[in-house]
Amino acid sequence: MPTPSRYWREIPQRYKLEAGKCKNCGLVVFPPRLVCPRCKGRDFEKVKLAETGKVYTFTIIRVPPQQFVDQAPYAVGIVELDDGVKLTGQIVDFHFDDLKIGKRVRIEFRKIYEEGEAGIICYGYKFVPE
């Protein structure tokens, strides 16, 4: 259950796909970091993630955590974007039988889940067929 501030500070990543690019070695990291995991560099520039990529691996969640109970079953995967960054997210608008490793996908802005009792509606990226 994110508080408004916890939700708000992740918005640059979840809404605008802001990543960091190491000025020393060129590695793109998402979410942004203060230290480059490859070269230990500390200077980064803001870049936007590639919006297309392919499915690296996936699963279909049938026993979800509490806040996703009304969505199950749903697919979650790791997608390797065309800029080399891998990230985790739901893969939607596929028939489960059509979902395969290597399928091309693109990022779309979607609702992730809703908290009840006038809580936050949580948005972010999901993957859809390219």
């Binding site: 992740e10 979840r14 979410p31 995991p37 690296y56 691996t57 996936f58 699963t59 279909i60 969640i61 049938r62 026993v63 979800p64 955590p65 509490q66 806040q67 996703f68 109970v69 969505q71 749903y74 979650v76 995967g77 790791i78 891998k86 990230l87 985790t88 997210g89 739901q90 489960f96 490793i101 992730i112 889940y113 949580c122 972010g124």
Partner: protein, 384 residues
């Protein structure tokens, strides 16, 4: 650095212990370990517990447990590294005795998980993943290991049946362990027909939700030699980390932290994988045992599934893995698991493992990992 021995171990029956609180489960177990060691005076305690704050709303755990064990005012420390908390407690106790700071240290692990319902427990365990970039998108722990399983199957041709054989093997071993939560044999068919949790993993690929604790007493080898019990020494200790977000790893099928921790432990012990007689590893899901045996160098990269199928890791095999039944059959009270692995190895090396005894076992290894492999502890034990 002083040589360190394990002189006492304790574990009670694991399961859904509705009539027992966390503190009771822990104290019963710690008393067994103390009685087994024959020592009544300890210098300090380390407790591994992953998430008592979420599972039972109780933090400040080390003091509570020292109090109920009748050990205040001695120092007590709770350590956390998700499902590797127990292994971490062992390492901290090992360092404290080796350094000479303390002579006798009680190392324990405990988790009380069944006070929550299934969805709440799934959430509690999920806190070991990257909350902002994995948990936010609805992934679960079975889901993370399912991502690894599918990638392993795609890359190496590991089969669904081979995954099932890990569970069948560990339940066979567990059927010989009266303390196991599920001491029953299962078949490949029953795994393949069990309910789907996160494709391709089914319920019988998953370790259960368990209440339980385990404890061990450490002291210098010189002191242990004066006692009546066979002396089991800790000859290697390795600890390593990896990214906790699975997506940040180059190859999700490779457990780099396990590889690195094992490398350190083998080097300290001056042993190689071929010298190990048996091991207890972190089979939180069937695919995990396959990846772990590869990272420990027991089998070639990509051949973990084949090794199970050929019986290489079975009780009568070349290198028996999870003779206790593993997390799968014995149960997985997360913080306790790393210490329970020590209990099994010590019993085996002393020749006290009953129907599941590995004949002539002299050197054993434990591997305990947190989350989807973001932390790992490896220890190597030798009977004098």
């Amino acid at each position: 650095m002083r040589e360190v021995a394990v002189i006492g171990v304790g574990m009670t029956k694991w399961g859904e212990l509705w009539d027992k609180s966390l503190r009771t489960i822990f104290v019963e177990t710690a008393l067994l370990a103390l009685d087994d060691s024959g020592i009544d005076k300890i210098d300090s305690m380390y407790i591994g517990a992953m998430s008592s704050g979420v599972f039972v709303g109780q933090e400040h755990l080390a003091s509570l447990l020292a109090d109920y064990l009748g050990q205040t005012p001695l120092p007590a420390t709770r350590v956390e590294s998700a499902c590797a908390s127990g292994g971490l407690a062992l390492r901290m106790g090992f360092i404290e005795v080796a350094s000479g700071m303390s002579d006798v240290v009680l190392v324990g692990g405990v988790e009380k998980m069944t006070d929550l319902n299934g969805h709440e427990a799934t959430y509690a365990l999920g806190t070991a993943a990257d909350q902002e970039y994995e948990g936010y998108h609805g992934i679960t722990f079975p889901g993370l290991y399912a991502l690894i399983a599918r990638a392993h199957m795609e890359k190496y041709g590991t089969t669904r049946e081979q995954l099932a054989m890990v569970a069948v093997k560990n339940h066979f071993n567990g059927s010989k362990n009266p303390l196991a939560q599920f001491p029953y044999e299962i078949t490949v068919d029953s795994v393949l027909n069990s309910v789907m949790i996160a494709d391709p993993l089914r319920i019988l690929d998953c370790s259960p939700i368990t209440d339980g604790a385990a404890a061990a007493i450490l002291c210098p080898v010189e002191m242990a030699k004066k006692m009546k019990k066979p002396v089991v020494k800790i000859i290697g200790s390795g600890h390593a980390t990896d990214t906790i977000a699975l997506s940040s790893r180059k190859d999700v099928t490779w457990l780099e932290a396990t590889y690195q921790a094992a490398k350190k432990a083998y080097s300290m012990a001056n042993k190689e994988p071929k010298d190990i007689n048996l091991m207890e590893v972190h089979d939180c899901f069937t695919i995990a045992e396959i990846c772990v045996t590869e990272a420990l160098g027991v089998v070639e990269k990509g051949k973990g599934g084949e090794a199970v199928e050929l019986g290489k890791t079975s009780l009568e095999g070349k290198i028996p893995v999870n003779t206790s039944g593993g997390l799968k059959a014995k149960g997985h009270p997360v913080g306790a698991t790393g210490v329970a692995q020590v209990v099994e190895i010590v019993k085996q090396l002393r020749g006290e493992a009953g129907a599941r005894q590995v004949k002539g076992a002299r050197i054993g290894l434990t591997q305990n990992m947190g989350g989807s492999g973001g932390s790992t502890l490896v220890h190597i034990f030798e009977r004098e």
